[in-house]
């Protein structure tokens, strides 16, 4: 009786697990499959997951089109600069929060936490005027600096937590030997904190790579557009070349997917700490 019940439960749970997996992955599978089809057979009826037209043609079309390649180059430049900038600025701030007590610490800390609640659309309205006034409109700087506002809080909070786990004696040892705090930070703390930095860096990269709204408004010319905008531009441009759009989407997702697969553990740790936007 009990054994039977267990067996039945196992069957039910297995069916649910497979159904959930299909729900999660089918759209992605369909995107990949469509990217290999010819545009004419994307809407073939009845649909097939793979058909005789399967080829790399749409991928080749994307990577040989200099406009589309430019989207990728832009996204890499912006994302890498955002990661470097966020880590540098964030580590400095985290060091201050972890190693000093100073007037205003509480206020600064809540200010940084509260940034995560501010809707991007609210900031975007004044950004338009501000970025033009600063002469940054349609430049990489406009994107890098504004992205850093959204990526910094997570970096500061995570790195402060990380530094707090490292003993203050480490810094003091350097300073007794005549070194400066600056040296203690960059030569001792930062190398030890590498795992934390990898996790923060990955998240930052993902956020920067996936950002859409700021890039939509703060850049204008096609040669300044990033991948998410580029994908969306394809929708409006020439009459819906679906297989090319899917190939571009797959290519645009690969950098983040690779990070995700290789650094899963960090991803999950970061996700469950709740500091990140979905």
């Amino acid at each position: 009786m009990v054994g039977n019940h267990k067996k039945r439960m196992k069957v039910i749970v297995t069916i649910l697990l497979i159904a959930g997996g299909a729900f999660a992955s089918f759209p992605i599978l369909w995107m990949v499959s469509s990217s290999f089809k010819s545009n004419a057979s994307v809407f073939e009826w009845p649909p097939k997951l793979f058909d005789h037209t399967a080829s790399l043609a749409s991928y080749i079309a994307v990577i040989t089109d200099s406009t589309k390649v430019r989207f990728f180059v832009n996204s890499y430049i912006v994302s890498i600069c955002v990661v470097a900038g966020t880590l540098f600025v964030g580590i400095l701030a985290a060091y201050a929060f972890s190693r000093f007590d100073f007037p205003g610490k509480g206020i600064f800390n809540s200010l940084i936490v509260s940034v995560q609640a501010i809707p991007p659309i609210v900031l975007l309205i004044p950004y338009m005027g501000l970025i033009v006034a600063l002469g940054l409109f349609n430049t990489y700087y406009a994107l890098i600096l504004t992205y850093m506002i959204t990526t910094l809080p997570y970096c500061i909070l995570m790195m402060t937590g990380y530094f707090n786990t490292l003993s203050r004696e480490l810094d003091e040892a350097v300073m007794i030997d005549g070194g400066t705090r600056w040296k203690a930070l960059w030569c001792i703390l930062v190398p030890i904190s590498l795992p934390g930095m990898v996790s923060v860096g990955m998240y930052t990269f993902m956020q920067a790579w996936n950002e859409y709204l700021f890039a939509l408004v703060l850049t204008q010319t096609t040669e300044m557009r990033t991948v998410p905008i580029g994908i969306n531009l394809l929708m409006g441009q020439h009459a819906y070349d679906w297989s090319q759009m899917m190939a571009m989407s797959v290519l645009g997702s690969i950098p983040v997917l690779i990070l995700f697969v290789f650094f899963q553990k960090y991803f999950i740790a970061g996700m469950s700490s709740g500091g990140i936007k979905g």
Partner: protein
């Protein structure tokens, strides 16, 4: 006073952050509030101060209220569905019926929708939801559903479809947080309950849910704030249409500012949205403090 002295040291480390936060956050927020108090902000060289008149205008705009009601539906449906699906999938991934290997593979697959950027999510669902697309094909096994349903351009179903897509790409965040919480619940609790003869449903109700409560409240509040602001996926799927059927507050603001070039009214609606988000954020921070204590 020595600027390189000990007292200024923490501020020197904070300086880059403070400059960035001031220029790109504090100043813009002041600007937005300022825009909302004047007429023809940005557009005119000498905008006239009108006090709270823009707020009066905003609250008497029926389009605004329809976007508010769309947003509420969107947020409530998304948050509840995320919670239910996230819980269900987390329980599945924590089930004792599967090997660790199966669970690890399943976890990767289940997180996937969350990894993709909004424009990919939008474009791939657009492909699937085309009238001659795969969704209609799969649904054609039910004869009562039309084979040519226009999912995104039908006024009465577009909002539901947009909600569904947002549910699809948002649940993994809940699932992972709940999974981490489930793994933190002591086995002893379940064992002693099993000895007392508690059924699975009772164990879920009296052990799992109360133990997860702080996590559930935190993630639901975070998700509430994020969904309230969501723009990207809806914008790329429908642009707020058909006929404003999927227009949320963020889209309303975007259209006002960047299509109708009415920065004053856009800033007014943005200030209201900001206030609501700040209030929820304060509750969130308080909740977090309670959890830590």
């Amino acid at each position: 006073m020595d600027i390189l002295g000990k007292k200024t040291a923490p501020y020197r480390y904070l300086l880059p952050t403070l400059i960035l936060m001031t220029v790109f956050m504090v100043v813009p927020i002041c600007m937005v509030i300022g825009y909302s108090l004047v007429d023809k902000a940005v557009v005119s060289k000498n905008p006239a101060f009108v006090g709270l008149a823009n707020y009066g205008k905003l609250f008497s705009d029926t389009t605004y209220w329809s976007s508010v009601s769309n947003t509420i539906i969107f947020v409530v449906v998304s948050v509840i569905a995320h919670l239910v699906l996230g819980m269900l999938f987390a329980l599945l991934l924590n089930s004792k019926y599967f090997t660790t290997r199966t669970k690890t593979i399943a976890r990767v697959i289940y997180i996937l929708p969350w990894v993709f950027t909004a424009s990919v999510v939008a474009i791939l669902w657009k492909l699937m939801l085309q009238p001659s697309g795969i969704v209609n094909y799969i649904l054609s096994i039910f004869p009562q559903i039309s084979r040519n349903t226009e999912w995104l351009s039908n006024r009465s179903i577009a909002l539901a479809v947009v909600c569904f897509i947002n549910i699809w790409c948002g649940y993994p965040f809940y699932m992972i947080s709940i999974l981490a919480g489930l793994q933190g619940i002591s086995e002893d609790l379940y064992e002693s309950a099993a000895i007392d003869g508690a059924t699975a449903v009772k164990r879920f109700k009296y052990i799992t849910v109360p133990q997860l409560r702080p996590i559930l409240i935190s993630i639901a509040m975070l998700d509430f704030i994020w969904t309230l602001q969501s723009f990207n996926v809806i914008w790329m799927l429908t642009g707020g249409g058909p006929v404003n059927a999927t227009q949320t507050v963020s889209i309303y603001i975007y259209k006002l500012a960047f299509q109708k070039v009415n920065y004053s009214m856009a800033a007014t609606a943005a200030t209201v949205l900001l206030l609501i988000c700040v209030v929820i954020a304060i509750f969130y921070v308080k909740q977090q403090k309670k959890v830590r204590e």
